[in-house]
Each structure stands twice: as structure tokens, then as C-alpha cells.
Amino acid sequence: MANVEDKFDAIVVGAGPSGNAAAYTMAREGLNVLQIERGEYAGSKNVQGAILYADALEKIIPEFRDEAPLERHVIEQRMWTMDDTSHTGMHYRSSDFNEAKPNRYTILRAQFDKWFSSKVKEAGALVLCETTVTELVKDLTGTVIGVRTDRQGNPIYADVVVLAEGVNGLVGQRSGLREEVAADSVALAVKEMHFLPRETIEARFNLKGNEGVVIEAMGTITKGMTGTGFLYTNEESISVGIGCIVSDFAQSQVSPSELLEAFKAHPSIAPLIEGAEVKEYAAHLIPEGGYKAIPQLTGEGWIVVGDAGQFVNAVHREGSNLAMTTGRLAAETVVRLHRLGEEMSARNLKDYETRLEASFVMKDLKKYKGIPALLHRNKGTFFGAYPRLISQAMQTWFRVDGVDKKSKEQAILRNFRQTRTLRGLIGDAWSVARAWR
């Protein structure tokens, strides 16, 4: 590669939120950084719901609100439990979210990543797009000293390689740094972009200006599989998607695109997107194995950030903020070693793991380490039986039909206990409480 000098302080593989956070942080501190991205531009391969959590980005680019392409700030969160004809909702809307520096925004990743990448370039990193990293280059002792790409030319060398390659982390896998992702710890999500005039969106969701609503849904919409659906309002579009664990898809043989069609046709969803023009259909994996699925994160000359390290909090639908935070913490580790003139050895890079332990990233992932297995074991109950029971209970309660309230209460309890024994009910509550601790 003629125009690329042959030795960098750091090479970053990938230009998603984790890679951009890492490259930006290192370049801003004066390191000589090369970032390589396989897409035509940063973002052209990337898919997210997408909710951006401001805090993680603020710690990297405090003034991002003035420049980043943001869609709407979220003032209302709806959590829905759905059966085939209904939803039972818990809605939280607060004008407090109309603050000067809002906490959550909807974004479109292709556009957001492109902006973030422009900041990386401004900070002084060299960003090479349309280039796929094919393998890591190691010296005789096994230390990673650079990468090879699908462009002709010699390997490119660096003191450290930051692997920010996302959930399909082929470079790390094929170099033996970590295993292929397991089908039961990754979700496949499909998503569509539905365009509507902004006035229509504002009327349908009762919004003013750039206010936004997000809906997270679970229930019979995933046909007994572990998964969730979502609907997020953007400025002039609505993102609608649904995702389930890959091994559940394999077991059920449900087609993901048909699952999305059924979700869109649900009587609670259809009116919200009626008349929209669909402009894109996307699919992407989400690592959902949690704490127990985290692979080795550092080694001789390499360090892993973002989805490649399984940093997703599936319970709270957080991923991009963990990606940015892990990218930043890895970069801070590298910057410090660089300043001290220390080697990028496995031993020295372990400092990254210490920083992770002290941050919300590891604390949250540890807190929920029992959740993936719990959901896996009880998917029929949590994604089928309970949503139906809740809907039936609501309907019994709200329908006025001459039956007295006491009998209604008894009917509801009976219904629960017929579906799930008392022991089952208590057991479920107990295991949720334990996994939640």
C-alpha cells in the first residue's frame, strides 16, 4: 500500500462506535493512528435500532449535540407486553426529558457513524475505507505486530491492534484469539425504515418539535422465541424491527422476514406505521450472551472492544454506549502505555480490564449474568404464557359485563394457576429476582 506509511502507533479495525471512540481518543492524544473500515464509508455496514445514550458520547465529544446528526430526543418510553390482539403497556413520559442536554436520542447509524468518522479524521487519524482486514500479522513469538488487508501490498505494522470489528469478528476468530459466537448467545434482528411526514409522526405520537417516543415490546410477537420487537420515532421516519436468539430461530424454523411482517401487521403496531413508504430492509446480529460470553480481551499487541467483546446489555437494550465506553477505555490504556514508553504487552494491556471492572460496563454485565440462561430455559413461559395471561387478566378486569369484581379476581387467579402451578409462579418470581440482583 504505497501511500500508507508502514508503522503506526495503533491500528483500529472497524469504524463503528467502538472503533471510532478508540481511534478518536488515541488520535486526539497525539498518537499516529490508522483506522481500517470495510464499508464504502463508516456506517454503510452498520445497523442499530437506534437509541443513542448521550452520556457515553459526551465523555468523548462533549459538544456532540451541536454537530451530530440526531433524530429525536426521547421523552417517552413505552414497554409493551403483547398477545395476538392486544398490548398491555407501561408508559413513562416526562417533560423533564425536554432538558437542555437530553439523555437519549434516536439516530440513524449510517449517518451517525459517518459523522463520528469525520471527527476521527479531524482528530488526526488516517481512515482507510473500502478495505477489509483479512488477518493479523504476528512475529515469531506470537505477538501481534500488524494487519494484512484485501488490498495489494505489504502488511501494515503497529505497536497495537484494536479489534473493533463488531459481532462478526472474523479477524480475531481466524487468528485464534476467540471462538466463533454461539448460536444461543446471539440474536438475529431484522429492521425496516418506514418514512412518513414529520407532522404525521408528531400527530400519531403526540409530539412537538424534536420530541420522540420509543416502544420496546415482548410477547407472542416472537412466537415463543426469546426476543423483542421495537418501534422508534425518527425525524421523518419510524424504525420497526424484531429480533430473537439464533438458536431459537433454528428450533422454530420461523422466517425472520415473516416474523417482522406479522409484527408490523399487529393491531397495536399497524396504525402507527400506516401509509409509510419503506425505504430499507436490514438485518444484523446482536451479541446477547452477556457476561459469561465475554472472550479474552487482551493479549500480546492486541485489545478487543465493543460487540467483538460481547459488550451488550440485552436487558436494557444498551450496546452502542458500551461500545463507545470500551473503545475509550482501551484507548486510554494504550495512550498511557505509549506516553510511558511501555510495551503493548498482554501484561500491560490488562490495565484495560481493570478500567472495565471499575466502570458501569462490567458492573452491569455482571449484575445480569444469569438473565440469558434464565430466559433461554423459560422462553415458553416468558414469551408466550405470561403475555397471554396478562392480556386475559386485563380484559377480564376492564370488561363490564355484570360479573362482580370478586369473581373476576378469582377468575384471574384461577387462570394464572391453571397455566402455571403456584410453585411455578413462585419459582419464576424467585428466579427472576435472583437473576436480577
Binding site: 457513524d113 454461539a182 436490514a282 438485518a283
Partner: protein, 99 residues
């Protein structure tokens, strides 16, 4: 529930997307086989882009032009190694406008 007759087919959905196809260089290949494993066979249902199909003689074939690069098929066949999966050459493949 969806009316199957009016629901758009996957091909129609893919029609909305932008792709830059690396002609003659498919990034996913199915290795020659007599009988597909359950995992490979299931890709005829599970691929979100409908890239996999069953031939009359019972083998699974792939046409990856509409691939969304999700990686599901690679994970589903990781133990059997029936699929050779690579990223498209830099710059090629699906080009998301919104993501």
C-alpha cells in the same frame, strides 16, 4: 396476523436496498455436499434475505447478491463447516443508507 398473500416477499424488500455486487466473486459459498446438515437446511428458512434455496436433488445452494451480511448462516454451520463465509471485498456488498 399477516395476510400472507399481501405481505411483501423478501425479494421486494431487498429491492429497496443499495448494493454494490462484486460480480463473479461471491463472498459466500456452500461446499459441495450430498445431504445438507439440519443447520444448513434451516438456512432456507432462516436467512433474512432469502439467499438459500433447496435444489431438486436435495442440496442447498446460495445466491448471495442480496445478502445483508448478518452472519447467521456462518454461525449455523460453524460445526459442520459447510459454508465458506467471507466479508465481501472492501467497498462491495450491501450499502446501508440508514442502518
Amino acid at each position: 396476523m399477516t395476510d400472507v398473500a399481501t405481505a411483501p416477499k423478501v425479494e421486494e424488500k431487498l429491492f429497496q436496498n443499495r448494493y454494490l455486487v462484486d460480480a463473479g466473486k461471491p463472498h459466500i459459498k456452500v461446499r459441495a455436499h450430498e445431504v445438507p446438515s439440519a443447520g444448513l437446511l434451516s438456512m432456507t428458512k432462516l436467512c433474512p434475505a432469502g439467499c438459500y434455496a433447496l435444489t431438486e436433488s436435495g442440496q442447498v445452494e446460495v445466491a448471495a447478491d442480496g445478502c445483508l451480511e448478518c452472519g447467521t448462516c456462518r454461525i449455523m454451520t460453524k460445526t459442520t463447516g459447510e459454508i465458506e463465509w467471507n466479508y465481501p471485498r472492501g467497498g462491495f456488498g450491501v450499502l446501508y443508507k440508514f442502518g
